[in-house]
């Protein structure tokens, strides 16, 4: 089949950038979307032109490296998958597909489709952990956890940090990502001692990074490849308000 790609090209963060259009012929419907980009890149290289830069690694939907706006939707038209899991069978022969990088002030474009997502790492650094040092942990089974809580914690913990939620949110908010991380630990007994300190630190960092605020548009959950729902945002808000308004975050 033949797919026409309208792709965002940008040399560096300072470059204003522009769309370029390429038609790629002879693509197999079995190919994945990233393989389509591979195919385009091989051609560009042969022609001595700069290939399109895009982030990717595992190509099976778990590392969270890949992610672009495909037809204006984060990770493309199909729900609950990452861009690398999108296959060309989702498109028709002759389709024109627009590909854009994630756009948010807190995640500047580095080149073409690659953005800088280190802001998400800094949010985790602000408090997204349980402060235990290596060694000295009690026997694993000495901390029983209600199965329902453990399963819920797992649901939140499956976040792959892809930032599709930020990209799709009309406000450029990172609420779902932060809610997932905060929620994972808040759901477990291990996370309780630092629960309120953690939520305040992470949210404050999130806001300091320049992400937008949440207006409950629910677009994030619609594109989250791991199906993390906005109920986690409600839990995040609750914990934050309890901590902040309730003054539980002593010393912060």
């Amino acid at each position: 089949m033949r797919i026409t790609l309208e792709i965002w090209r940008q040399e560096n963060p300072a470059d204003p950038g522009r769309f370029e259009t390429f038609a790629v012929d002879d693509v197999s419907a079995e190919s994945s979307f990233l393989e389509l980009l591979d195919q385009l890149n091989i051609r560009l290289e042969r022609e001595g032109r700069r290939p399109v830069a895009f982030d990717h690694d595992c190509r099976e939907g778990i590392c969270g490296a890949c992610g672009v706006m495909i037809q204006g939707t984060a990770h493309g038209p199909r729900a609950r998958i990452t861009a690398c899991q999108l296959h060309l069978r989702e498109f028709a022969d002759g389709d024109t597909v627009r590909v854009e990088p994630w756009r948010a002030a807190a995640m500047p474009v580095l080149r073409d489709l690659i953005v800088d997502r280190t802001a998400l790492d800094r949010i985790v650094q602000a408090g997204g952990y349980v402060s235990v040092n290596t060694g000295g942990a009690p026997d694993a089974n000495s901390i029983p956890v209600q199965k329902e809580h453990s399963d819920l914690a797992f649901d939140a913990a499956t976040c792959i940090g892809c930032a599709a939620c930020v990209a799709q949110c009309p406000n450029g908010a990172a609420q779902l990502f932060v809610a997932a991380k905060v929620g994972h630990l808040a759901m477990l007994p291990q996370g309780q001692p630092e629960r309120y300190r953690r939520v305040v630190a992470m949210v404050d960092q999130m806001e300091a990074e320049g992400f937008g605020s949440c207006s409950n548009h629910r677009e994030c959950e619609a594109v989250c490849p791991k199906g993390i729902g906005v109920e986690w945002i409600a839990r995040l808000n609750r914990d934050y308000l309890v901590a902040k308004v309730g003054g539980l975050a002593r010393g912060r």
């Binding site: 560096n12 197999s28 079995e30 190919s31 994945s32 393989e35 591979d38 890149n41 091989i42 560009l44 290289e45 042969r46 032109r49 700069r50 290939p51 830069a53 990717h56 690694d57 595992c58 190509r59 099976e60 778990i62 590392c63 969270g64 490296a65 998958i81 899991q85 580095l110 080149r111 690659i114 800088d116 997502r117 280190t118 790492d121 985790v124 650094q125 408090g127 997204g128 349980v130 235990v132 040092n133 290596t134 060694g135 942990a137 026997d139 694993a140 089974n141 956890v145 209600q146 199965k147 453990s150 914690a153 797992f154 913990a157 792959i160 940090g161 994972h184 630990l185 477990l188 291990q190």
Partner: protein, 637 residues
Amino acid sequence: MTGLDARVPPGALEHKWREYRDDLKLVAPNNRRKFRILVVGSGLAGASCAASLGELGYQVDCFCYQDSARRAHSIAAQGGINAAKNYRNDGDSVFRLFYDTIKGGDFRSREANVYRLAEISLAIIDQAVAQGVPFAREYGGLLDNRSFGGAQVSRTFYARGQTGQQLLLGAYQALSRQIAAGTVRMHPRTEMLDLVVEEGRAVGILTRDLVSGAIQRHAGSAVVIATGGYSNVYFLSTNAKGCNVTSIWRAHRRGAFLANPSFTQIHPTCIPQSGEMQSKLTLMSESLRNDGRIWVPLRVGEERSAAEIPEAERDYYLERRYPAFGNLVPRDVASRNAKHVVDEGRGVGRLRNGVFLDFAVAIGNLGRARIEAKYGNLFEMYASITGENPYETPMRIYPAPHYTMGGLWVDYDLQSNLPGLFVLGEANFSDHGANRLGASALMQGLADGYFVAPYTIANFLSSHLGEGTSTESQAFHDVESDVRARIDRLLAVQGGRTVDELHRELGRVVWDECGMSRKRAGLESAIARVRDLRDEFWGDLKVVGTGEELNQSLERAGRVADFLELAELMCIDALDREESCGGHFREEYQTAEGEALRDDERYSHVSVWDMSEPGTWRLHREPLLFENVTPSTRSYR
């Protein structure tokens, strides 16, 4: 056999590690700050090591090529992690885990290391749970276990099909905490391009900033390589696209020994290749073999669809050949048998390159709901990749390169022959012999990083107190010129072939001749072919752009250049080992029934390759002494 003392401490197997630890020298808290340690890699091994060293108060620099430490390839591990907790009361013990691992590795690993691994496995689970890793639990609130990869006890801890992800996030969180505390400096999107060795000791590394292209020098009192495996030498593998051998290979070229490079694991349950442009293969968790039945049509060239083939005309070849273990035989055996039936022309699918993994009986017995609860996400993944519905038609699977048991040689301290260079995780060769058991790589990575390296590195550093580090030495200068020259060379070729094309071709050669089964003639021709490809690479490569920018083609070119050298050594190693063991199957050495024929007389050793003379390899052998177990023939019939 120069420099090949594994330095295994004396004493009874069960007490070695504890007694040794008691004797290791320490570094006082106020002195730790004075040491800078470079940890290359942020996977389970690297992240756990960097975090633990940071907690102790060392100054750590940690590097990864991804944009975040959390994306290291460990994230992709699905099935689980072993630990001899015996929570199930099914007779598991440290000794049994040790024995299973040694036996699974076909008696080609070092007893003392494996025992220590089994011992430490207990603490890993404790540590992970304390960090908040959401392992699967039972209604009573305690941890659930499953049997994995044919083990006869249930010792595998898991977090649905995302165990690696959850463990890595645990380690990443610990790492993040240290970054916030200022003990660890993280360098994402930074690739190690060379090792700096001064007077035989590792003193630093050279990196390239993958965004700006800047070449940077880093000096440290110790260097830790935890950069994972090199299955991508095959081009198509289950590894992430960026996985590479560069840091291992650069260290090897600077004098670090490389052990058993040809020991690679081909995983039996992957989705078969579907097209020419395919860029990677996807693993389907091994746990599927617990309920799925593997078969191919009896007839060569069968045209009917699976549903139309009557029971009598199906060959459940694993159940037929291995009545005791059936579909749960170890990976190497399952893979080889799949290759065998496909080579006979009985493969299934459009390209006739797979075998069926059929859940019809399981769905019939347990009901669709139970199967969905157990494997729902895997079935979904399969459907999204292949466009087929595995609830209705059997899955198609085929083996794919997955793990490399070979790696940099290390002693009991996980230190290479170059003092100051420590190697952890999949990057070293240490614990899995000729075949790795399922759910034991995660265990090893974390054991190395959390619980071994922090002790042995301290022991090493304790005798280097007060020695400064500097990036201004002649050695750094020389290595930097080498690194720059190499990049310039890659950019200067300006030929006609892209990196991916050449890599694909290399992959095909290695897969055909140094994959699931190997033979002398094939290996010899592969060596010649690899050399030709290398010439072609350096004569006809095309990389667009410069080194002073984000240039993904350049990154790949550098990695493929190293794979092209590694491939040759893999073939040489495979050729040298005239026996079949674990994943290394030499067609000349098999039993009448077609099973691997080990030769303990001649090959009960680690093959350790030394390239300190550039361009030639010298072979050292580290003999493997079995004092606590008796090498037996693995039999799964």
